[in-house]
């Protein structure tokens, strides 16, 4: 128990050591391991070894789950991807990189990759300005603000499948959406929302925006709470207009939140499956195919488990590379040197 109490005190104790040498026995005891670990304490283990054991003990269950449910499947997928395998019987038809070559030669797959990139770009291009505008609006003192916030967040809370099925029904030919268009005199603009290969991807994009802009807004609103009020006050004293305050103070200070949201949005777009599966199953004529939908089509519906594993590995690599690039170029500036001081003190 004593250990638990002293451990977090450590850093502060460090700072306190030099000015008041030997002020308390507790301080010297803390300083001892840092000095070189020569002096052993009551137990048979040094403090650092003990701490390592403790970490190991608490991390082990989580690590075990991680290894069993994440690392193993990834490794297995890489292994399967080198075989022509229908899921039944032994892995005995080794094909090397043939599955990868087939995937990259299949225009349906390469188009699916392009669709994913389109969705990433469109999500950010549409949801960022829209989300930001609504968040700034809802951050002002307006009537019914709480109710508005709830309403805007509802689509995000709704289960994806439920929302998908409802949209699917709304968008049927001669369906409710068409009736709505007719009521406001726009019947000549009605389309085969999900049935026209030229339009389906945009329809899916609209539904995705409806579903996910709420998340952007809530994150931005949370970020706005972190902008210190005195900055606003200072700006107002300097005679800045509302618009200037937003542009010069709010949005720059919201940067970390926006960048984190962008990361979430990108990952979500890369692994997009449920909404597309329910609305279009990747059709019509593959026009809304995404990598994940393609994967399910080839994997479970065609029993090409080796090939589907290769596609999964490609999806994994694309996600990993994009995530790493985002981390390196964009997220890095949000934690400039936060971890370093701690490291130096050790």
């Amino acid at each position: 128990m004593a250990d638990d109490v002293t451990a977090p005190v450590g850093p502060h104790a460090d700072a306190a050591t030099s000015p008041h040498a030997g002020a308390a026995s507790r301080t010297t005891r803390e300083a001892a391991p840092a000095a070189g670990g020569g002096a052993r304490r009551r137990g048979p283990l040094s403090a650092s070894a003990r701490k390592r054991l403790e970490i190991l003990f608490f991390v082990a269950p989580a690590m075990a789950l991680f290894v069993v449910f994440i690392v193993t499947p990834v490794v297995q997928a890489v292994r399967y991807s080198a075989f022509n395998w229908n899921g039944l019987g032994p892995l005995d038809d080794f094909v090397g990189l043939q599955n990868y070559a087939n995937a990259l030669r299949d225009t349906i797959f390469t188009d699916a990759v392009l669709n994913n990139f389109f969705i990433i770009a469109a999500s950010i291009a549409i949801q960022l300005p829209l989300g930001l505008a609504i968040a700034l609006l809802l951050n002002r003192e307006i009537w019914g603000r709480t109710a508005l916030r709830v309403i805007i967040f509802v689509p995000y809370v709704l289960a994806e499948v439920v929302a998908g099925v409802i949209w699917f029904m709304l968008l049927q030919p001669r369906g409710i959406m068409d009736a709505l268009f007719a009521t406001v005199g726009l019947e000549e603009y009605t389309q085969l929302w999900l049935g026209d290969p030229d339009i389906a991807l945009f329809t899916v994009m609209v539904v995705l925006t409806w579903k996910y802009v709420g998340l952007a807004i809530i994150l931005f609103l949370a970020g706005l709470q972190g902008v210190p009020a005195d900055l606003y006050e200072a700006a107002q004293l300097d005679g800045a207009s509302w618009w200037q305050v937003q542009r010069r103070i709010t949005i720059p200070l919201l940067g970390p939140t926006i960048r984190t949201w962008g990361f979430l949005s990108m990952i979500g777009s890369l692994q997009l499956f449920d909404m597309v599966w329910i609305l279009t199953k990747g059709g019509p004529a593959n026009s809304t195919m995404t990598m994940a939908v393609y994967l399910i089509n080839q994997g479970t519906n065609r029993s090409l488990y080796g090939y589907a594993s290769a596609v999964a590995v490609i999806l994994f690599v694309i996600s990993l590379v994009l995530a790493a690039l985002y981390q390196y170029f964009i997220l890095r500036r949000d934690n400039p040197d936060a971890p370093q001081p701690r490291k130096a003190r050790r």
Partner: protein
């Protein structure tokens, strides 16, 4: 801070322990359900089927109870589930080697894959009598001269139509040739009625058109040989594709058919027919049952239901009366106890099949039960099946999931105007090459 972290860790540990316990529990119970049948005494048979609605579900419970009563020590554990769920779970079960004892086998390439992996029991000897009785319908469940499943419902695909709407459009006789069909399409359009619904969103309903054109254009010998060698270079397959292009060009299909699902909801292909939005649909023997589920009064089209076989194609080399169809069969997994065979034999018995027919659960294969079909349209369909020179199994089932899936995708693209006759043949051969 420290204490909240500790609480979190404790929570994580607890949930991990629970998860492990859950996994352990799952393993144990599944072990218990696979019938290892100690001695001749107690045997448990696991049975998966897709009749998860009344009256089918209750009927099968009764059938299982009767069998248990007649065979002491046998317990049947029934798992009724929705069709799609069943297929997904079967795939997974076969991969883990934990398949149910009694399951539904769809035949063709899928069966071949199961047999090659040693997952299915050979019934040729043990159920010889039943196989003899069922007759030619059993062919779809044979592989390399052996029979692996007993088909309990085999139907054929044809056009289901709304007799009222046909009358409104002034069509007095069901179309017999493609020319008749085109005339009917024009008449229906003239009367402001959408002629045909097709669930091209699910692909296979669209693909059925290409299969049928192939059956009409190609002789039986060519079809059999193509199925064995995967060589589709015969000109007749190109002509089938051209026939399909011609039909698509006539624009007979419902608005937005590329995204229309086959059977789910009132805006599906079956739903449009059931709610009188379109005049006809190409579908199998399941259609009346599906339509009943899609209308509020559970009647489907009721008395207005009509049926005619796929029209004849002028100049085709195929048999003009040959239907295309398929069905479902009961099979035993390879390591099922011998009681499994007794049970599926019982499922094919005169008694069980008659009850099956009386409840309109499908199209019975046991000749003794055929007379008990209550629906007059289904009874017609059975006559066509039993008098046909041969019944062509659905080509996607026949070729297996891989080639079948690639073929269906290519045919759906023909419907979208993005692929031609040669593309379908190329897709089949490319997929067969990688098999």
């Amino acid at each position: 801070m420290a204490s909240s972290k500790r609480a979190l860790t404790a929570a994580a540990l607890t949930s991990a322990a629970l998860l492990l316990a859950a996994c352990g529990g799952g393993g144990e119970s599944s072990e218990g359900s696979t019938s290892t049948g100690g001695g001749d005494g107690d045997v448990t048979l696991t049975w998966w089927h897709n009749s998860n609605n009344e009256p089918g579900q209750g009927y099968y419970e009764q059938v299982a109870a009767d069998f248990e009563a007649a065979n002491e020590g046998v317990t049947i554990e029934i798992s009724p589930m929705a069709h799609e769920d069943m297929l997904t779970r079967l795939d997974a079960a076969f991969q883990t080697g934990d398949a149910p004892d009694v399951y539904m086998e769809r035949g063709g390439g899928e069966l071949a894959a199961h047999v090659e992996a040693g997952l299915t029991m050979d019934l040729s000897e043990v159920a010889a009598e039943e196989i003899e009785k069922i007759g030619p319908s059993v062919a779809g469940w044979q592989y390399q001269g052996k029979t692996y499943a007993l088909p309990f419902s085999v139907g054929v695909v044809g056009f289901w139509y709304n007799t009222d709407l046909f009358e409104q459009a002034g069509i007095t006789e069901a179309p017999e040739t493609m020319d008749d069909l085109y005339a009917a399409i024009d008449a229906l359009k003239g009367a402001g009625i959408e002629p045909i619904s097709v669930g091209a969103g699910d692909k296979w309903p669209a693909a059925h058109y290409w299969y049928y054109f192939s059956v009409r254009e190609c002789s039986e010998d060519v079809l059999i040989e193509a199925g064995e060698t995967m060589d589709f270079s015969d000109e007749c397959f190109i002509r089938a594709g051209e026939d399909l292009e011609e039909l698509v060009a006539a624009e007979p299909f419902n608005a937005g058919f590329l995204a229309t699902p086959a059977q789910t909801g009132p805006t599906s292909a079956s739903g449009l027919l059931a709610t009188e939005q379109v005049a006809m649909e190409l579908a199998g023997h399941w259609e009346p049952g599906v339509m009943q589920g899609l209308t509020e009064d559970n009647q489907g089209l009721g008395d207005k239901t009509g049926w005619f076989p796929f029209p004849q194609v002028e100049g085709g080399e195929g048999d003009p009366d040959a239907p295309m169809g398929g069905g479902d069969a009961w099979a035993c997994s390879a390591d099922a106890p011998p009681e499994c065979v007794d049970f599926i034999k019982y499922l094919l018995s005169d008694e069980v099949q008659t009850g099956f027919a009386e409840l309109d659960m499908g199209v019975p294969t046991n000749p003794a039960a055929v007379g008990s079909i209550t629906n007059p349209v289904l009874a017609d369909l059975v006559t066509i099946r039993d008098e046909a020179p041969y019944v062509q199994l659905y080509l996607d089932t026949l070729f297996g999931e891989n080639v079948g899936g690639a073929m269906n995708d290519a045919i759906a693209l023909v419907f979208a105007g993005q692929a031609g006759p040669q593309d379908v043949v190329d897709a089949i051969q490319a997929a067969a090459g990688t098999r």
